[in-house]
Subunit: 408 residues, 4 copies
């Protein structure tokens, strides 16, 4: 039936829920206590590796990779994975426990879709195994990078190599102790047609000339162990076979990267918002103020009702996006992709905001995950392009479709 | 597939779309020109009856009645009807063209579900044929009627009759020239348990003692030809067999009335909002201000993008409600029913508000349907109970479910 | 002291408050019952003239006209009048009782500032006496009139006359039985510099060629007795001496018209919002729902607190605007003028919206003034130019001032 | 004149503006680079002490203390200081440069108002000199502390001493290397009338039994060097003469502490919001996206216009609060005090949020002060009591005043 989960998905989701209950929630805050402590900068908390091992042993691993990527995919469609992704994301860092975290998720998909067998063997397999991590280097400090045609970083052919010069920032995961490569987007031919100038190339991060200038805070957080780096690339030479798909195909790759990635990204906020709502519901039954439990105050009831309705709507939107992607591909789903980008982080931020108020002083500090979720969701109204860019694109497409439906 | 319409529904919806294009949109504003003119108070515009006839002849008739109501139902499930209801509602008055308008819709369902064969023969059949219309009398001016246990109107047994005394208001459709009956909810036993005091009874409106005191404006509109009446009932005697289902079952009936009715009601706002969005998209491509089309202004693009995302989310929520109602019945769908009530009218009002701004002076007057939609959607944040009541209920239930999931 | 009213103003305001209590509130709803009844279209309710007489006798008359307009002004500064205007506006129609209503208010100021002695004798004096009423014809249906340079209505010199051809709409007050003239803005020289094309001229409404095509609804209301008209002007000949100030000065006059007018306009919404808040406070102490007075529900308390804070902030903004206008003139106050236009109608609409919800069914019908205030404030987010136009202007000026303060 | 600053204030404010330009803005980000670096935890940046010295030498020192506190006050009224406080707060940490920062500001006022000459000599004078710093310990982790009658920390008389046992958190400034004392609020008589149970006492932080358990993050920030601490007090003995004002006077002191403090606190957000607006205006003229400067996009213009109107309204509200406090004292100003608490932090957070979007990736990291302002303003929707508590209080008082004006 339409809005009902299949038995297969119910079973798998239940398995993940059990894993979360048994192994993840007990460490929920411990993770942040470790990663927010600067003494532990760029390291994983000690319990983490065992947890990943446990998930891998349980077979909850790489489920994000759609069925089309045989043989690496465990075989779920986007629509099947979406409700599971929600559960995995209720504790944001748990995504990595299941090898389903950004930016590796997107990088693995790029390599699975566009990589040569050699590239896949060299980089994709260890990523899928969880042995290494990766970064994605696109945004540049000097230009409005949400318009990818503005990019300035140069990738110049020089014999059997490409030589890269430029500066990137918001290169997420670059500080990760296991990070071995970044996918980098830059300009191979500045004179080509606007969307054929860019290429994407694999850059091992230990290549001479790669310099991590500094970490960037995301609303006060280092987001350790992965972090976000500003990276200077000076005469960085990489073998020509590191280029993905061919010169001038960078824009196409970037678009493809946004396919499943975008709805998974959105579903993450549904899970996080649902987690905030759960915590809020718990809180308001326990806390008494001015003579009655918070749960008895209509303003609290309304905040909870609004949150539930907003979460549910966003969840359905993401499911529709995933389903459309399965049926019509990225192009058919592009309006959904825009919509979930606009809706999901803002929705989660709003729900976290309400939860925060219900917790008072406890809600803004490290004693709940709410402040982390609040910051992450706010951050993501900018990451992957400010909301405003996506709203303008969706607005223009909507006008085009409504006024001349045949054109759509 | 999950979010795709079946071929059957696509075909039927296309049929309705064609009918709307050919027969309804050409009269869209003419209807209001007639009904807003006090010289025509409580009459239908001349073209209306022919239009209904045409729809009936085309077989687009009573589709709202779910498949369970054999033999009257044309056989659609709630989930199948929902996307069609959206199209029908893009012009609010068109619902009646297809015999799918409130409050008759709900009344017909009550009679189909709970009526005796005699009640069905006498009242339901002519309603289904479109020969007569009906009103629903529940709200009372003296009490907070969103809490139905507050009702005061008395229904007293007296031999073979019931005698009714009380005052109702917001009795919609009572001025309709074809209105022959109202379903009235009142108190049969004030000493019974709180939810067993009320009963529902059929009152022919020509019964002595029924006095329509005055019409009520809904945000400035008479909503002719049906209108909203304040009704005084003084010693109104109706045969005992007019009671529906039995004494003390009024609350149960009122709940049942809200089943399909509530999601159909919500879907109405999706259709109306979509209509506003279409008009806005058209407008902004045609209007130039300060040197460029409105369509080129980012603030307009964002308004359109937000509207689209809000409409789509609400649409999915209503579809999920309809589907859940098909699968689990009203009780299983009650959280969805609360959510759509909270979300849909407010969403439509917001979208209409943005459309209005894009039209300037034209948007607030009779030259578009936007002001009508704006008023109707605002009105419905109160009709059927203020948003706040539904938010408190949903909030309390959500707390209960989240804190003790086993109870849900 | 800074934020304290002077004794003079306190005394005058108290006088108006007393008048309102004794003479206006008792008729508050009766006015609308009359004017919303189409049988009384374009007529004043019977009690109205006596009420105006009473106000005039009490000397509460024309207080809007700033002290600079000797000998007609009663001598109040803008800053002194503002808090009194608030009280007068708590019942919107009461402004006319005190001869302080739009559009006459603005027209009188134009004539007082720019008129010749003959124009003043012929038109201003009877307006100040309340013997006649006037309309203002600027907006045109065919163009985005918020950009006044778009206007197309022609005013052509022909010997001792001007001949006018064009179409106007939203010509407010044109249906008023006492309306004798309109101030009309049109194009005298289409080849002049953009802001020197327009002129303003006095058009007696009984001039041949003036045809009122139809009334316009404002969100469902005729706004009788003044109404809003669409007006066709065909070869309308008026004496050359009816031109105000000279050819090409129309833009300048329109700007001047917006001076005190704009803050008075804004203060109107403060008064109306305060009225809604009073009614809401009364309501919530009287109404019991789900076991407690509405006043005990935190959601209601928050709505009231938010409303109070928003009203107070807007009030202070309007007072600052009035004070700045007194000290620095319109040019010095132009940012304030933009701000109050953006803030005041929207604030009032929001406060009315909350009040409406607290009243339930009673709040949307004719039993309170809330629906009228709701419609009027919504209408005024478009009247005098959509909010968006003013926001763009203010935004651009703000950027200019902040980035290069010397330029401001 | 009403809304114009006096020449005295203009001169002083200009002096502060000059100081900010010359000495503070050049260090604006450097401060955060230092304090956000965990290697420098609980230390001041090296330049800070010289800056304070410079401000003190310039005589810009302790201006927050109202004229009534002779001889320590420099003699400004609240209304005079308010516009200066705004300028000082444009860089939040600059308040301390001028010895006008929380929580010392409030503590100094408490000691100046209620302290004995000995208490003043021992603690107030060094605070006024800037030689030491202080903390304020009121909130407790176990109870809803916004309702001060819930406090549980015990202050028990024992001969010439009081013995304190309890746990506090959000004890701001406790980590400050110069912090020597905290003012602590606790219960002296649990059986007294509800508002007479609490007392306030001076606790030197080196008293045995005072244990700082851990620092609390405020939305991810340590807020070094002052920080926020969770503090365990175990049999902490302080001399009886450390009690302020007398047993049972704690509630009264807490109220008094909120007088000038509350509007100064609010004005801080006006300054911070204004700073964000300036940065945003600068940004949008420099950044080009999709073919035009951000400044040319209407959505940006509207965001700036809305921000300006909101800032200006809040500024006027705070000025009105300060002026009313000067004229009528805290009791007369209590509604204003509630309003500014509700309005100011939320307004600033909203303005910072818009600014953040306009900066893209730069706006969420350490390259502007926006993320710091965003976090601080969000934090303060909870600090000093969640908005909701203040809205309920204001709502209830408003109902009381509107319904029975004589009672107000």
């Amino acid at each position: 039936m339409a809005f009902e989960l299949s038995d297969k998905v119910k079973t798998l989701r239940f398995q993940v829920e059990q894993f979360m209950e048994e192994h993840v929630y007990p460490h929920e805050l411990e993770y942040y206590t470790w990663t927010d402590d600067h003494e532990h900068l760029w390291t994983y908390p000690p319990f983490f590796e065992a947890l990943r091992r446990k998930a891998k042993d349980a077979g909850i691993w790489n489920w994000f990779l759609p069925a089309e990527y045989e043989p690496w995919s465990p075989g779920l469609s986007n629509y099947e994975f979406a409700p599971i992704m929600e559960v995995m994301s209720k504790v944001p860092w748990a995504q990595e426990v299941f090898n389903c975290s950004a930016p590796d998720r997107g990088n693995m998909e790029v390599l699975a879709r566009y990589g040569t067998p050699e590239q896949q063997e060299r980089w994709l397999v260890p990523l899928l195994e969880g042995e290494i991590r990766s970064a994605f280097a696109m945004t540049e400090p000097g230009v409005a990078s949400s318009d990818a045609t503005n990019l300035e970083c140069q990738i110049r052919r020089d014999g059997d190599h490409y030589v890269i010069n430029g500066r990137k920032w918001w290169t997420s995961n670059i500080f990760n102790p296991k990070c071995k490569l970044m996918l980098l987007m830059g300009v191979t031919d500045p004179n080509a047609e606007r969307h054929a100038r860019q290429s994407t190339i694999i850059v091992p991060i230990d290549t001479p000339g790669v310099e991590i200038v500094r970490p960037l805070f995301a609303l006060g957080h280092y987001d350790s162990p992965g972090g976000h780096g500003e990276v200077q690339l000076t005469d960085v030479r990489v073998p020509a076979e590191n280029l993905i798909l061919g010169e001038g195909r960078g824009f196409e790759i970037a678009q493809g990267r946004l396919g499943p990635g975008r709805f998974q990204y959105a579903m993450m906020f549904v899970g996080m918002a649902e987690r905030c709502l759960e915590l809020m519901c718990q809180r308001v039954t326990e806390r008494v103020a001015f003579g009655e439990p918070l749960a008895d105050k209509t303003s609290i009831q309304h905040d909870i009702a609004r949150s539930r309705a907003e979460i549910e709507q966003c969840r359905l939107l993401v499911l529709a996006a995933a389903d459309t992607m399965d049926r019509e591909g990225l192009k058919g789903a592009r309006n959904y992709v825009s919509m979930v980008k606009i809706v999901a982080p803002a929705m989660c931020n709003t729900v976290a905001d309400r939860a925060m108020q219900s917790f008072g002083g406890k809600g803004v500090c490290q004693d709940t995950p709410i402040a982390q979720i609040h910051a992450l969701s706010r951050f993501c109204r900018i990451a992957d392009g400010p909301d405003e860019v996506h709203m303008s694109q969706l607005g223009k497409r909507t006008i085009g479709e409504r006024v001349a439906p045949g054109r759509a």
